[in-house]
Symmetry: C2
Subunit: 132 residues, 2 copies
DNA sequence: ACCTATAATGTAATAACATAACGATCAGGA
DNA sequence: TCCTGATCGTTATGTTATTACATTATAGGT
């Protein structure tokens, strides 16, 4: 389906920065990169990010207060996603696991917990970094 | 084996506030509660929290920048823990799931990812709040 | 074209969360 | 006692995120 969406100027600028980056970025580092394009205030970044996250183009990494471009750009319909974040180089690996999702939704059902959003973030050292 | 540990004065004060609370607290709200006991600066809270987390008595909830007393006070040896956080009342339910842990450690092994720490946080509405 | 409603933007100020740096103090072991 | 490592107090600063309010662009209906 991969419905193409028209991004606004600010959204496109923020998404561009995030897409060119080789890892997650903080909102303020994006702001710094975008000052030459006229950005003046954090809100310009945060507002764009809010929409991009809503569109599924960007993910927020709660454990490191940063944002990363989705690595599955042609399938924005993903359900539960897990992230593996390298603490050495910053690389982020994004994956889904059906079993994990089943276990967590199962727990929620059993406990009458109305699940809205799940965060799974693993931190460690990636293959590249640990082989070096 | 629940080894008893001697907490310092500041650690005991912070742990006391967190234990009496019925949900997670931010470091700054703990600071406010502890001003009458002589606390003056955020670091006094953050330093105590750092140790309490290390001891396994307190958990940090990354997705809401808060801290919560462990609900399994007699077993600080837990491996992977998942949290269900009610966005209405703030209640936190802490649980472990062996299968989820196996899937995530399995992924890490398959991808040569040296896993150091995993965060699993579910946000939604708890049974109490959704029945009310 | 005109009106209107919604979404997006600009800007300043502030709130909320967290750490750096430095020196003082305390506790236990050689 | 002397040394060492952990804890503590304090100030300042760094980092992340939101509130508030005014303005401008966009899309539809008449
Ligand atoms: Zn994605
Ligand atoms: Zn790496
Ligand atoms: Zn626990
Ligand atoms: Zn609740």
């Amino acid at each position: 389906m991969a419905e193409t969406r028209e991004l606004t100027k600010n959204q496109a600028l923020v998404f561009g920065v995030l897409s060119k980056a080789d890892g997650p970025l903080s909102a303020y580092s994006m702001l710094d990169q975008l000052r030459e394009h006229g950005f003046r205030a954090p809100l310009q970044v945060y507002r764009a990010l809010e929409k991009l996250v809503e569109f599924g183009l960007v993910h927020r990494l709660e454990s490191i207060n940063s944002f990363v471009a989705c690595t599955h750009p042609h399938d924005h319909s993903h359900g539960l996603i897990a992230f593996a974040i390298c603490e050495t180089c910053g690389a982020v690996d994004e994956f889904s696991d059906e079993i994990v999702e089943q276990r967590l939704t199962g727990w929620s059902r059993n406990n009458n917990f109305q699940l809205a959003k799940t965060t799974i973030e693993m931190r460690g050292v990636c293959a590249n970094c640990s082989s070096a």
